[in-house]
Symmetry: C2
Subunit: 588 residues, 2 copies
């Protein structure tokens, strides 16, 4: 709980910093500034300004930062004032964006709205809370300025958004800035291009990545790995279409939940379908295709198919936000008395998968249970929730997960376990989850015949392991900075000849490794060896084999290992044996 | 060429049979019959009738058939008559469908239209040709009656279509009927359901199959196999999105070609995209993502992604006609001097793939070249066509393909090789193709820098091997009647215990085989052994292992092989070794 409280304090402080920034902008640019909104975000805050035709430069940011420091030094008080709607309009008579916000608050039935004053230099429509005074704001930095449409709607005016960050201590700020610098170096768009993993095309459109062979090599290894792991726990692969009648999602509830994100599919022949926003409803229909008995359960399906969301055009970018993600999704349909074993299996799958990436251990688990004060907002029977929450706690205890119980964090349809990892530069990864679901089977009238010959609804257990391949690739690229472990490397071995005489032997070695399933690059170009090695290193290829007179004569290869350098000559057989073991054991 | 002529005679005869059928219907039902159209189709003919509220029964078909036989016996003459539009309308004054057809002919600028008389009993608007007289019609049979909208448009009236077939000899007719009977037994919808390969859901909608685990097992084996084969010929896997801006297809020409079949994708957020009707344009964009040199070519891409066609709602059914097919598609971008080797590779891929299914050998190849009388309708340089057609001929000669040269059968963008196979019951399979394409690279401005530093367009070589997994599954199911070779069988081995004492050993054996990657079913149900064997046989599982006292004692399994029966006891190790070899060698 201490982490959460700290987070929250940090949030208040950052929000106060955004007011200080707005105050600084007002002091510098005067009345011509129109103020929009200034919320906190992960790791910082922003404020959106309308400066007319004028734009902020980097130098302007420096000046604003200087002015902010001055305001912090002044230690001005934050003071709340609740005023009537009428008075509120009076306060913002020159501020059209604030007027719009107040109109909405009025529409929602508010009689009063609150303002926060910062000393006498700035006043803003705001529900708070804020720090006592500006002096309490920690070390901060303005990061960048970017265009942002008012309310995120591209039909509105483009405003100027200044991003900033603030921390409790200088050390934390410095650490964060260092992390950002490192993250920039590791940016998946940059590395993705350098390593030729994926591309975008103006003709195809933004938000629609095309994966080049090297990107597919990684994705396919991940697919193979996750399928293997899941298969060993009884999952069977299914394949469901990307389209459906909207009826399917009206029953599941996703038509409402994703109404804006739904892609509608029509044709001149009168078709009217949607692209699937989630996988689960389709999988229920395979379950429903047969009569099921208690003896048939658990039935476990997995698949890696695309799901679609009509993200806002202005928000798509890189692989992080795209129109279609290829989701590795899995569900178990089981009896209540089987749920525990299913959850254990799924936790094992998550453990096995993340361990192979070196991420297991640096993680924490949330046991997200219901809000005990009000069951009416949940779906299912309270007694089933009791059983299942208790059972999740048992799983946590027995498996040593040390899950932190988070009350009120359950999904509407059931309690869950969420896994949070940290990547190499400290970014939090929140992907894996095991969720119990009492609602969906009921909605789709999924049943099995129990031992007494009566029909019952199975429990549906959802599990995500790597989430989507697109976003997981971002994570992997940034975690490994493109230097993937051998088993994931698009090219695992590069062979380089020293002279023309060595080409034939290079081809022989290449062929021998290739037939062992090793992903090869054979570089016989008429360039210097050091040049070819440099290229291989730039491509972050784990092994480079250099072949000259000595190697041909001794039937060897001179091995260079990524980040370790020259390992000297090795017999080809021995090299193959070693690299195959490294691949099979998924050594990092 | 003799085959084609025979086809054509058969076609004329069947068309004449459709007139005889119409004449018989007229004789029986009189003036109330409104006649629509009566063309030939593959293996037969049909005629669409409007009988008002009345419908044809099976008994009616018998009566019509009887009347037809009488007309054939009468040996009535077919006689053509060309008449003015005005006289034509006079002839069909009670026939609204014919009137509509004549109106169209008039619109198209025809001054005269032709009718065919059958003796004095029937006269029909028809451009012919026909047999000399009805006596020359071979053995025929009416097959069924089905509803069909006038002109295939569901907004029009539903007519009654009677299907018939006719052959030159009684033997051919009998053979055809036998084949149909066999085909019905092998119907993929029937077997697909029995073996639980795929299903449809009312909530998801027609034309959108959901593949159950057993169906996916087959598809995944096919994928693995084709990828392995293609990879050994230098193909690299890519993954392209299912969506694109329509711009992509405006350039490729598919927006026009598939204007009716295009699915349009929109959202409440203003997105405007299409679902891809073909893969090729997307793949060009990966080629286009880098500068390419003559040294980089050939570049070979393959992928297995979905493509979409808005088929008419009334025409979707089973896996044969669906809204999305998962196409195994591949392209090579190469120089003209590399085309020959690329084609040889692709023919090798086709050969390797179809040989593993036992289909190679029972096939013929068409070398589809341009119409030499008019080059204006083709794209590209005539000299490149010359080189490439000659080269395809060389490939045919050198590889012993004995390709039949079919003039005028080339695609607009280049010449091609088409492969025609016959399945187990004689149905023709026309899937594999190797097509040269001079046009697409030009359209997308794909270039490489040649040895002189100048930009040139590469040639794009398209290849299809198995086409789409959906339709190929239909072919496999019907070819093997569900009894797939071991490597493709969804379940390869079923283990059955005789008594409760044998369960543990059954589980041990199951686990041993499973860890070898063999797809297993363990049946420990409390049923009789013969019952469990019967189920395994119904599921067409290649191997059933029965385990009782003797087997436990001797560490053996009693092997039953599909269609061969009891093979007696075998050591587990030996069985594993044998089945693994059978799988690896893809024994049929």
């Amino acid at each position: 709980m201490s982490t959460e409280k700290k987070q929250s304090n940090l949030d208040i402080m950052r929000h106060s910093a955004s007011h200080v920034m707005a105050a600084a902008v007002k002091q510098i640019y005067g009345d011509k500034v129109k103020f929009a909104i200034g919320p906190t975000i992960e790791d910082g805050f922003y404020y959106d300004f309308d400066l007319g035709e004028q734009t902020f430069s980097q130098a302007d940011l420096k000046e604003i930062e200087k002015k902010m420091k001055h305001i912090v030094k002044q230690n001005l008080k934050f003071a709340r004032e609740d005023v009537s709607i009428k008075d509120a309009f009076e306060k913002v008579k020159d501020q059209p964006y604030k007027q719009e916000l107040i109109k909405e608050l009025e529409k929602e039935g508010n009689k009063k709205v609150s303002f926060y004053k910062l000393g006498e230099i700035f006043e803003d429509l705001c529900s708070g809370p804020h720090l006592e005074s500006s002096g309490k704001i920690g070390p901060f930095k303005l990061m960048k300025v970017a265009g942002a449409y008012w309310r995120g709607d591209e039909n509105n005016k483009m405003l100027q958004r200044i991003y900033g960050t603030a921390f409790a201590t200088k050390e934390e700020l410095d650490e964060h800035l260092k992390m950002l610098e490192e993250a920039e170096k590791r940016d998946h768009r940059k590395i993705g291009k350098e390593l030729d993993l994926f591309t975008f095309s103006d003709l195809v459109g933004p938000g629609l990545p095309l994966f080049a062979p090297k990107g597919v090599a990684i994705i396919d290894e991940l697919k193979k790995h996750i399928e293997e792991v899941c298969r060993s726990y009884g999952f069977e692969k299914v394949m469901t279409p990307h389209l459906a009648k909207i009826d399917l999602y009206e029953i599941s509830g996703h038509a409402t939940k994703f109404s804006e994100e739904l892609f509608h599919v029509t044709s001149s022949r009168g078709h009217d379908l949607v692209l699937k926003p989630v996988q689960c409803p389709h999988q229920t229909q395979i379950y429903a295709s047969h009569k099921r008995s208690y003896k048939d359960l658990p039935i476990r399906y997995m698949e890696s198919e695309k799901q679609y969301r009509a993200e806002k055009a202005g928000e798509v970018g890189g692989l992080n936000r795209v129109y279609a993600i290829t989701v590795e999704d899995g569900h178990s349909f089981c009896r209540v008395d089987q749920v525990k074993q299913e959850v254990i299996n799924m936790v094992n799958i998550i453990r096995d998968f993340y361990r192979a990436l070196g991420l297991w251990g640096n993680h924490w688990v949330s046991l997200s249970v219901r809000d005990y004060s009000d069951f009416s907002k949940y779906i299912g029977e309270e007694k089933d929730w009791d059983i299942c929450e208790k059972m999740l706690q048992e799983v946590s205890d027995e498996m040593g997960l040390k899950a932190k119980k988070c009350e009120g964090e359950a999904a509407l349809y059931g309690p869950k376990l969420d896994f949070m990892f940290k990547d190499a530069i400290g970014k939090e990864i929140q992907i894996p989850t095991v969720q119990l679901d009492f609602a969906t089977p009921k909605k789709f009238n999924l049943v099995y015949t129990n031992e007494k010959g009566k029909e019952e609804n199975p429990v549906m257990v959802h599990r995500a392991v790597l989430g989507s391949y697109e976003r997981f690739l971002v994570l992997l690229i940034e975690h490994f900075a493109g230097a993937f472990p051998v088993w994931l490397s698009p090219i695992q071995v590069k062979i380089i000849n020293i002279g023309a005489d060595h080409k034939k032997y290079c081809q022989e070695v290449d062929e021998r490794l290739r037939t062992q399933g090793i992903r090869m690059e054979l570089d016989l170009a008429n360039e210097t060896v050091s040049n070819k090695i440099r290229k291989g290193e730039k491509d972050k290829i784990p092994y480079i084999l250099v072949i000259g007179d000595k190697e041909v004569k001794n039937k060897e290869v001179a091995v260079r290992k990524r980040s370790e350098g020259d390992l000297g000559p090795q017999k080809v057989d021995k090299f193959i044996e070693q690299i195959k073991k490294e691949i099979e054991d998924k050594i990092i």
